[in-house]
Symmetry: C2
Subunit: 130 residues, 2 copies
Amino acid sequence: MEEVQIGGMRFTLDLSQPLYEQVLDQVRSSIAKGEIALGSKIPSVREMAQALKINPNTVMRAYQELERDQLTETRRGQGTYITTDSARVEQIRYRAAEQAIQEFLGKMASFGFDAQAIEKLLRKYGGEST
Amino acid sequence: MEEVQIGGMRFTLDLSQPLYEQVLDQVRSSIAKGEIALGSKIPSVREMAQALKINPNTVMRAYQELERDQLTETRRGQGTYITTDSARVEQIRYRAAEQAIQEFLGKMASFGFDAQAIEKLLRKYGGEST
DNA sequence: TAAGTGCATTATATCACTTAATACACTTAA
DNA sequence: TTAAGTGTATTAAGTGATATAATGCACTTA
């Protein structure tokens, strides 16, 4: 539950998920929400590892997945930079949204809620998130 | 992707999740959707294990979690039975729904979608599940 | 009594995740 | 040229969750 500030991003790691996945999610979220400027540099692997008190290899794994999604570009000897391709960011955003929706609706259906019931529940429980 | 019929339920196991979790989810779903009658008996641990071609201990783990949630009652020497307490089933259903909603909204928020955007996307992608 | 229940125990194996320690190629600035 | 900082690759080791295997026990029913 410890919060760490680094490179204009806030990080909170716990043991509920793989560390590399949490780093990946939180950097991707910062990009998607526009909290970090396109084209800007993110902390180096070693710097991030030290700040989060985790192994550089674990950070590497997260960074490599970001690059596979073309959300970052890495320049050998220089560092890792957020893409300047805003269309790519939008693509990732909507792809993630579609997947989240499918998962959500599938789970709700497995508990026997139809579209109408889901709509009603969304109004009831939808008010109080972060 | 192999589908197995047993005890009035359809099972499909894969390697994407722990086996005990998949068994747990699919039995719980059958109860929640009313596909299996309250008070009825579900297959024995050994029977289920043989049908799904997995270890009895793995089935046990799923069954124990069902009993912890009071969705089943086990009678030593007799077997495992679905609860007759319909209110309990409803409680589990709505608790699960609330959790799914919170997770969904949290994920969408992390990608920068507000309530209005979520509503719009639900209409767009909401049609084609199952 | 025999067969079928849930349940407990012990051992083993596998896999994902994480850390650790090094090393190398590259870039930049002193 | 040098030194420091980049990403990256490699090898080794440890840990925990998951799953299987083999056995046995207490209980219930036919």
